[in-house]
Point group: C2
Chain length 417, copies 2
């Protein structure tokens, strides 16, 4: 079989290990008997639509090697979600045209729920058009909210980063509580699912360890019960540290803080839940409060990635190539848990349509009965995912994160309107 070209693209919010998937995928593609050139979409699917394809062969080998430890999206990511084919035939046709112009017959899309929607639709569209295209999804999301796969590359590292940030912030508060700060609030990401907030619960191994309370989107926020719990901790141990997910909402589904703006996917853009909680504690309980908002630092904090997460991210990238070699299309690589302790995992795959537009919430069995903390079941689930350290190399005191040269393949088609 003649070798044919492949395109890889990154999509959605980036992670500290999405480039590790790119690294695994590019390595495997370059070694594959089925794949010739590897191109990467410049800024995700935008790069395909605009025929801006980065030529991987023109990158220094050390730059590709550095993808393993470089956070964020080295090729640029995107928030563009393709609408349904019926309403949006031009974009799907353009993608196929660009692929045809560059002899591209493999498309690897590295993203979350929305990206798997694109994987499923594009695979079907190409088939209908009679264009030979294999579309494979590589999972990626700090939200850890994809169904079927046991966990998502990107989550383990955020879980580790957030847990350690909570440990350190709690110890700080414990040091200061005698005559200063009594309450510390850590805001984590997590639009609808509480995985990232819940993970910080791993830091609590002693009653004095934070977080003492975790506010998750899955549990309707009840102000009176919350303030009572804060007061109880402060009166018993002198301080209280709290993790709050940006997606925390009340029983009516109103976000604790709703900015009123929406992102390009139409999702509410959140932020400020931590500030709302800080103001509430300060105003109602008259306690001195401090708060941190981790925001992008948590999802791109490659300096503190989990080794397991890095390994899984690389493996998922490699597996995508293997699935392509097996002739599959419209599927996403999944991580399968074989056992908890010792932790063993393998790779599988599922139809991308099973993943698209679905969100796996934190199940009830992972949430403590009072709604303010995690269960041992969650600990058993989450602990393996934060195991091991995988430090980037440093030079002159800073990590040697590397920017790619991003030479574009010459365009062959007229510009897309």
């Amino acid at each position: 079989m003649a070798k044919r070209n492949a395109v890889y693209a990154q999509s959605g919010g980036v992670t500290s290990v999405i480039n590790a998937s790119a690294y695994g995928l590019i390595q495997a593609a370059q070694a594959s008997g089925a794949i010739d050139a590897v191109y990467c979409g410049h800024n995700g699917i935008n790069g395909v639509l605009e025929e801006q394809l980065i030529d991987v062969s023109r990158e220094a080998p050390e730059a590709i090697e550095a993808l393993r430890h470089t956070p964020a999206g080295a090729f640029g990511s995107c928030r563009l979600k393709l609408r349904d084919v019926e309403k949006n035939r031009e974009q799907f046709q353009r993608i196929v045209d660009v692929f045809a112009a560059h002899d591209v017959h493999y498309f690897f899309y590295n993203g979350g729920n929305d990206s798997m929607d694109t994987v499923a639709k594009l695979s079907t569209f190409a088939k209908e058009q009679g264009y030979a295209l294999q579309v494979i999804g590589v999972p990626k999301t700090i939200d850890n909210d994809l169904p079927i796969t046991d966990n998502c590359p990107g989550f383990g590292s955020v879980a580790k980063y957030n847990t350690i940030s909570m440990m350190e912030g709690s110890m700080d508060t414990e040091s200061m509580h005698k005559d200063s700060t009594k309450v510390f609030v850590l805001e984590t990401m997590g639009r609808h699912a509480g995985w990232m907030a819940a993970a910080t619960g791993l830091a609590a191994r002693d009653e004095r360890d934070g977080p003492h309370l975790i506010l998750m989107p899955e549990v309707p926020f009840d102000k009176a019960r919350f303030l009572e719990a804060v007061e109880e901790h402060v009166s018993r141990i002198g301080y209280c540290t709290i993790t709050v997910s940006e997606g925390t909402q009340d029983a009516e589904g109103n976000f604790l803080s709703e900015s009123g703006t929406k992102d390009a996917f139409g999702h509410a853009q959140l932020g400020g839940a931590g500030q709302v909680i800080q103001d509430m504690v300060k105003g109602e309980l008259k306690l001195k409060v401090h708060g941190a908002v981790l925001d992008y630092c948590q999802r791109s904090g490659r300096h503190l990635s989990s080794k397991v997460d890095v390994e899984q991210a690389i493996a998922c990238g490699r597996e995508a190539v293997a699935l392509a070699e097996q002739g599959l299309s419209g599927v996403m690589v999944t991580i399968v848990r074989e056992s908890d302790s010792p932790y063993r995992w393998s790779l599988g795959h599922t139809d991308a349509g099973n993943i698209a537009n679905q969100e796996k919430m934190l199940p009830g069995e992972y949430i403590r009965e009072d709604g303010f903390h995690i269960t041992d079941g969650f600990r058993t689930y989450c602990r393996p995912l934060i195991q091991g350290e995988d430090y980037p190399p440093y030079q002159d005191g800073l990590p040697t994160y590397r920017r790619l040269a991003k030479h574009l393949v010459p365009a062959r088609l007229p510009a897309f309107p």
Copy 2:
């Protein structure tokens, strides 16, 4: 000379390496021919006033060893500042009484400007009372605002943490900017001096690297010029990342965000400068913005401490004992820069009165002419302080930070009212 007992206490906002100073000091004190028992104030000077002295000899040796890599204040810190002796004779007398009751003749106080005020006053007071007491200050402040000493233990680690956080947040923004976030705002601590915000400038080595703009308390904030600079970056490179110090203020000295509350030292308690900048950029320029507030995570982020900082913190603790052995009192250990490149440093000391209540602001020569960034002079100053990594040991995915047993020495005096 008969051995006599010593008290060590931690004061003010904690750091990721204040316990490393405790570790160095305790090690040196235990090896000293002058010092017998080492006690530690439980929650700083509060522990002396309340006769709550932690008996170091009852801690497991591994726990003392773990101080080297454990962040925050292991013995508890405090915000209590002793008022002038004339207005506050009872507190000073109580301290001397407690020390006399426990045969304590060495007092090591690990803190910043306010603590050195206590060192100077207490040393003088004891002398006036004819009580043999040597009081030695050990420098500690993430603010890096103590005069005379070239830098302060705690700062190098925050500088490293904040710089890497900005690198990672900037790379994230660069990945997303095509059709999503254009501006990222990182709020750092720094009540009056801009050292911690300025440090993030080390991340900028290419015009695409953040931070593109740094807002420091030393430079009066000018909204129109700031927004113009943001727009210029977004139109030229597509995005803009900004570091803002919590202490940023306008030409009239109004903080960008003034919460209106004050801490126990009477200083305005700040926070929210980052949110103000985010809202300004979103509201005026209609750009999608994200923001992180590092707060306590930056100052207790021991997982990312600078090796140089850890070494200096330990050395300062040891040197305090050496100064005590030399018969000094009312002095603070200082770090002396011998050369920039290669970086060489030694230790010195100065009268605590030279440090007390003074703040070393970022000098003009370290601020770029337009006020929005740092100079090469600052880079030369700051770069050596973030060199080297000093990772804590990990177990089960988390750092092995350790809590002390804190057995108290039995009280011998009536309670202090």
